[in-house]
Symmetry: C2
Subunit: 654 residues, 2 copies
Amino acid sequence: MNRADPPGTDPAWLPPEAFRPLGARRTRIRGAGPLVETVRDEVADACARFGGEVVRDGSYDLLLEVTDGGLGEEGFAYARDGGTTTVSASGGRGLLYGLFHVVRLGEAAFTGTRAREVHRPAKVLRMLDHWDNVAVHPVMGQVERGYAGGSLFWRDGRARGEFGRVRAYGRLLAACGINAVSVNNVNVHGAEARLLTDRIGEVAAIAEALRPYGIRTHLSVTFAAPVLLGGPATADPLDEAVRGWWARAVDAVYETIPDFGGFVVKADSEGQPGPFTYGRGHADGANMLAAALAPYGGTVHWRAFVYDHRQDWRDRSTDRARAAYEHFAPLDGEFADNAVLQVKHGPMDFQVREPVSPLLGALPRTRVAVEVQATQEYTGQQRHVCWLGPMWSEVLGFRPEGEAGPSVGEAARDLVAVSNVGDDPFWTGHPLAQANLYTFGRLAWQPDADPHRVLDEWIGLTFPSAPERLVTGLRAVLAGSWRTYEKYTAPLGVGFMVQPGHHYGPSVDGYEYSPWGTYHFADRDGIGVDRSAATGTGYAAQYAKPWAEVYESAETCPDELLLFFHHVPYGHVLRSGKTVIQHIYDTHFEGVEEVEEARRVWAGLADLMEPARHARVAERYEEQLRGAREWRDQINSYFLRKSGVPDAYGRLIC
Amino acid sequence: MNRADPPGTDPAWLPPEAFRPLGARRTRIRGAGPLVETVRDEVADACARFGGEVVRDGSYDLLLEVTDGGLGEEGFAYARDGGTTTVSASGGRGLLYGLFHVVRLGEAAFTGTRAREVHRPAKVLRMLDHWDNVAVHPVMGQVERGYAGGSLFWRDGRARGEFGRVRAYGRLLAACGINAVSVNNVNVHGAEARLLTDRIGEVAAIAEALRPYGIRTHLSVTFAAPVLLGGPATADPLDEAVRGWWARAVDAVYETIPDFGGFVVKADSEGQPGPFTYGRGHADGANMLAAALAPYGGTVHWRAFVYDHRQDWRDRSTDRARAAYEHFAPLDGEFADNAVLQVKHGPMDFQVREPVSPLLGALPRTRVAVEVQATQEYTGQQRHVCWLGPMWSEVLGFRPEGEAGPSVGEAARDLVAVSNVGDDPFWTGHPLAQANLYTFGRLAWQPDADPHRVLDEWIGLTFPSAPERLVTGLRAVLAGSWRTYEKYTAPLGVGFMVQPGHHYGPSVDGYEYSPWGTYHFADRDGIGVDRSAATGTGYAAQYAKPWAEVYESAETCPDELLLFFHHVPYGHVLRSGKTVIQHIYDTHFEGVEEVEEARRVWAGLADLMEPARHARVAERYEEQLRGAREWRDQINSYFLRKSGVPDAYGRLIC
């Protein structure tokens, strides 16, 4: 049990053993300030456990020092020479990240020599958005799309008031490089609205627990806050009274939380209020909030998830995928410096496979946050293993203007994930879903990192001194799990086919005749959405070249996105050489086989970890396998019934 | 406002004006007892309003008398001769029904002459089952499948303790002949279980409010009551301790409610406990409760709704439709005299069209209650007009053994409906849904009554002195509404195609890959469930001749049940001469047109009733039309996509 771990809580990627190499050494710490104190406490704890020492003079193995090195607020330099390891930083945050770098290196931090290398986070904010509700929502519960128990922050309308767990959470986040947390759901209801004003003290208490680990606290606010909270009767962003109300509200927030991060806003989206109500634009709305926050260095994260969620399914001319680009691309350059446009990585909604949002290539003069979803809403809800590292990595590596231009990961200011954490003892419900949270943090620090190297880091930290059999087994069940999940769910980028509402389990036509704009248009002849410019919705033309051309033609479109961009006959031959229908059958049989194999591999690891962790995962594999078979059978039956094309291998399709 | 109507409550089919002919006359009442007092109060109230008189001697227009005429507890004789109308009965209940007969007749009760005619209810119990929960169920709410607001009896875990409305309800029920009410949901959860024991006083208070109108109170109990309520650790029906526990529980109930009606039990059904848990049969379970109730003349209504609700959709050999027959037909003759087997009218679950349950033809030595559903779970949820009189009439007129044998209506002991009433000001949400409740009561009194005559009765009572335009309009919107609803929803008896869970609105595949046993098996070539004996599930063979033969062949099966019994190609030609696919298109276009026409007719009646009633119905027509169009478009699109067969008339199908 480490200092910050409350009883009964899994240590995740910071088990005491991970501190053994550090804790057995002599460490000198130079510097002052609250975060340096955090560093000092961490090292002291490790030494108390493993026999090392924090020294004030004399020889040492490790020097952790705050210098004037121009390394920025969060950067650090690392070197090893003459038997001494040195981490230097320009401030406490950098030193803390340097400390966790040493922990990650393990024994390697204390062997050999290493030329000085500078580490700096690539992204300004590496942020988690919690979709936690203060009051239990009648449909969405305590945590919207939460699969890990209750909220760490709120319970039944009130702040939990238990900060040991929050502090431990902050520590885990710092260890993977995350530096910002938004503490409530972007859908802001009555109870949550008041966090901005008379309940700001509850936010301050969370901020206090997270601050020692360098994490700033942000708040989701409703655009209608002035109206809801006794201010002006309008929320018109150009109304002086409204602007004044927000300015005063922000003053009061910073009086309580001097290092407050800023606001997250879901406006004019899925029923949330926004500037459209007043005939104003999104830049007007975002800039008003930005102006109130600017004096304090706060930012507003303005979500670009704006679309018509009451679409008529009969109307084939409307295409939800086009919406974010249409709303926001024309506003490029109009947002204030501290207004960050937060864009979902894909044009739809966190499906297992989507193209990268064309909006991410259309905002050269706008500060952008890329939003991904660590909580596995559409990817198995933390009952299925689905390690998203490779997907995120693909998104971050995508170059909207082709090879010559910057990648999404290079261009974005911030990287944001919807959190997958709750009050579950394993933090994430499924113990292996911890790898998603860790990977997110590390990719936000370094978007071009090899995700498989990050996965190995996570394995190394979570299972210190793991025998090779365990390392191999963990890699085997995690590394390909995203593609496995893709195989047994909606095929070839077409998306959805999930049960309406809760989004768990298959329902091929579940959203086909709905107002949500998420269709596959399967009929007896073929399937897919024609989003070409020539004959379809024109979505493909929202991309710059070369992507507009690549996606425009079914011949050049990557297989995995074919049905996102094109409606094709079941007999259409993929670039892989298979027909679409045979691809559907094959991948669904393969997906289930891969889950069966992963379950088998997992069963073989029982002797290599605590029984509780093994059992929790084993249980979930039973459910994953049941679910994968259900997906396989529903999808295959649906398409056999519709196409009439038998499986080339004569396998049983019910 | 009549004496029993609480403020703000619609008088339904007992508006003060309905009492004008009676209230303007001189009436003599002879007899004594509580129900005679009810009769006396009713007449006195009417006279106070309309200038007539209750006389103790001298001349009179109407004589209401209790005699020794051998008319049974509930029968009455009616005659008019020499300017005097006479109603005689052998007891207070009969007299009360005779009084409401006079009210129904209106002025006709006081003109001409009429030879003595005897009226007796055909069914012993004419009963409403309330699926009201005491505690609000997290999914099902206060009233399971309730579409008329909260419960009249319970609110948020407690008895409402307001009996004016309950009394008014009893009065309405008596006026259409209903004599029994079960006050809680057949799904009995924790709070409801205790109604049997320490909360029996709450049931007694309801019984007291209903008693003046001749209505007995029944209670749904859980088979696991002994275990749940501190009795033996088993509920084995052959265990002496269990039998003793029930006997004592029943003793205590009758001590509190001497005229208690008995129990309703849903056992071994959809997760409710039952005798199967202890390796016992349903007759064992029912007879145990019957034995406890017998000394007091109480009955147990044992529901036959037993089937596997966790079926594998891949398993085509299991057929839910067969379940009730398979479970209960072998038990014929084994049930105690006061154990009544309560059988849903169809083999599935209250669909807009089902065959009559073959179990109803397989219980010659069992007392049977036929259960219908007044609450419109699958028939528009009281947002759509769907007058069920003709459907119930068809069921009751069905002769399981052919023309020579008795009808279902003749053979059954009791008729039971799931209530459609709540605390809505109009009682039933949709004001026109009152006609379902009224019609149910009247058909329970006389199963072979012409439902259209009953509808006219309801119109005459509800809208006294209605001009012909109103009568014609009401008939126009109600008389054919069931067939209209059938036209725009699931076709040709195939059933379901509803949104899972709440069962409102279309979802063609909503239950297709579910565990509920409710499938349509549509593929690109055809649709329907083969339930023939020759090639299908064998369900058709559960019927006696001639029905087993009629249903066995797609050539002789009635069109409206074709897809219930047979899987046929889309091009199969119906007895009507149309192909199945063209029938689907045509009926769905027609159904919407009929709703449009009904809405137009309703709009033309605005000047003929109170604005609130007209507006409520007009609002619901907007929703019905929206819903009907959604059904039309989803069903037609689904089958066009699947079959590829274009509409013969070239109408737009999205």
